[in-house]
């Protein structure tokens, strides 16, 4: 890939399929971004992001998909919607990050925060199987998978006593339709 050192970014070679993708799928037009920085200012985790929300939108414009898919911000964004709520041009940055997170998972790019990546898969898997999220089931599988068996067990017990946790949560009736939705977007899951 040419010399092994960083060279400055060539603008005329930008091809941003991601930008068109976001426009076609979600109607997000990153060109409307005023680059004012309100999103980054308000972002609850922004001070820890490697790329602030404003820079993420610009990375889309620059077509730097590799960087976006390997970004730490993907996995520590809380999806709190503050950036969308404040954006003068209404750019749905959380939706962009969702889209990139999915893309990164599908391409098998390891998450920079493995536990978050794992939780992400387990939860979607549960929704695919039973059409809903059961806290007990999800936490049990997550604790087992991450090897912290008794994590929050005390808290779980107290919640159970107060009737806040339901050990068995039946699948939704139309769980077949949910599975078909997943198949359509994810393809046949083995």
């Amino acid at each position: 890939m040419g010399p092994d050192f960083h060279t400055s970014f060539r603008l005329e070679r930008i091809e941003s399929p991601l930008k068109r993708e976001l426009k076609d799928l979600f109607g997000i037009d990153v060109d409307t971004c005023l680059e004012c920085g309100k999103c980054s200012g308000g972002c609850s985790n922004g001070h820890v992001f490697d790329y602030t929300p404003r820079k993420i939108v610009q990375l889309v414009k620059l077509g730097a998909e590799e960087t976006l898919l390997k970004m730490d911000a993907l996995w520590i964004c809380l999806s709190c919607q503050l950036c969308l709520d404040r954006c003068p041009s209404g750019i749905d940055i959380p939706r962009i990050l969702d889209h990139l997170r999915e893309k990164s998972r599908r391409r098998g790019i390891p998450a920079t925060r493995p536990a978050v990546g794992l939780f992400h898969d387990l939860m979607l898997d549960q929704v695919r199987k039973s059409g809903r999220v059961s806290e007990v089931g999800l936490m049990l599988r997550f604790n087992v998978a991450t090897g912290q068996y008794l994590n929050d067990a005390g808290l779980g017990w107290k919640m159970f006593l107060k009737g806040k946790l339901h050990p068995f949560s039946p699948s939704v009736k139309s769980v077949k339709e949910v599975r078909r939705l997943f198949e359509e977007s994810y393809g046949k899951k083995t």
Binding site: S8, F9, R10, L11, E12, D29, D31, T32, E35, R54, K55, Q58, L59, K61, L62
Partner: protein, 352 residues
């Protein structure tokens, strides 16, 4: 209303001068409009389209010329220069000289006028001071006025246009303006808007040409200005990059612009075929001479200065309008032309 013999001399046939002459005539006084070029219109004649409504400046010029030629109280003296002036009790004795052909070349005559309006307009600073941009060295590097000419030729040759369509155009703002070390510290006010216009026009002519505008800020502080720039960015897809280019280099027959995208904090480079420099707006050399001739006040850069509390007046019986005062867009030049005319007619009415 009795025929009134008060006469005002308006120097400069651009939008400001034309407006001043027209309003003075409409108020019932005489106006002598002197212009050194063969045609009226000033810098406006070189422009292609306008902001914020993409109108054709030619229409405005023709409309004004129509009114001026119809009016009995306006004498239009094109290809004429003001050679000297002597201040008198209630006005100036001015000597004019016709420059061009038409048989009257070199003919001089004297004229007594009761007031003067300076409307000599502006020009662009010589951008070759910026060795790093290579103006005057690389053929593809041109100032924005030169680029207006290029836009006009492209527009006129609608047919075989794709022939020499550039693949990439970079427009660089603040060349000479906001630059204490090589140019002027002030902001030339209108480059942000006309650069957006030029960028938009290139995209209209050649949709798949990549157009980049390198800016520090885009100052769109006027009616429909912000929407105009947003339209150029969002609908015409001109790429705005915040970062003042450091250098233009030759690369395989094209021009490489080297800058930093300061919002991303990364150095960027872009290969283009044309680089347009939005050069600083400075007064014309003639403005300084005329200012001395008529005792008008000027600032440190040579722009005409106004008397305190008198927006359009520079000194006794000397008014000014348009680019010779400071960088101004067409609409502003028209307003200032009318303001100068109002000053003149108020003066004339007091003395009647």
């Amino acid at each position: 209303m009795p025929e009134n013999t008060k006469t005002a001399l308006v120097i400069g046939g651009g939008p400001a001068g034309m407006e001043a002459a027209l309003r003075i005539a409409q108020a019932g006084f005489h106006a002598v409009l002197v212009e050194k070029e063969p045609e009226l219109g000033g810098t406006l004649r070189d422009l292609h389209s306008s902001f914020p409504r993409w109108e054709n400046p030619r229409e405005l010029i023709d409309h004004r010329i129509g009114l001026l030629t119809k009016s009995r109280r306006v004498t239009i003296r094109t290809q004429t220069a003001v050679m000297s002036s002597v201040r008198q009790a209630k006005g100036f004795r001015v000597s004019l000289k016709s420059l061009g052909n038409g048989g009257r070349e070199g003919y001089e005559d004297e004229l007594d006028v009761d007031a003067v309006v300076l409307a000599t307009g502006f020009e662009l600073m010589d951008a070759s001071v910026y060795g790093e941009y290579g103006h005057g060295i690389y053929p593809g590097v041109m100032t924005s006025l030169e680029f207006e000419g290029q836009l006009k030729t492209w527009a006129q040759r609608a047919g075989d246009i794709a022939v020499d369509a550039p693949h990439g155009v970079a427009l660089i703002k603040c060349v000479g303006s906001r630059d204490r070390s090589k140019g002027y510290p002030y902001c030339s006010k209108i480059c942000c808007m006309y650069t957006a216009k030029q960028a938009g026009l290139v995209k209209d002519l050649f949709p798949d040409t990549r157009v980049y505008v390198f800016y520090m800020d885009y100052r769109a502080s006027g009616k429909e200005y912000e929407e105009f720039v947003r339209q150029v960015i969002e609908e015409k897809h001109v790429r705005y990059i915040r970062g003042r280019p450091a250098k233009v280099l030759p690369e395989d027959g094209r021009l490489l612009v080297r800058a930093e995208d300061t919002l991303m904090g990364i150095p960027v480079e872009v290969a283009v075929d044309m680089v347009v420099l939005a050069s600083a707006i400075v007064p014309r050399p003639g403005t300084l001479l005329l200012a001395e001739m008529f005792g008008a006040r000027t600032d440190e850069y040579g722009f005409i200065e106004n008397e305190p509390f008198e927006p359009a007046r520079s000194s006794e019986r000397v008014f000014y309008a348009g680019g010779c005062g400071f960088a101004i867009e067409t609409a502003g030049a028209l307003n200032q032309g009318a303001a100068a005319a109002a000053g003149v007619t108020a003066l004339f009415n007091e003395e009647r």
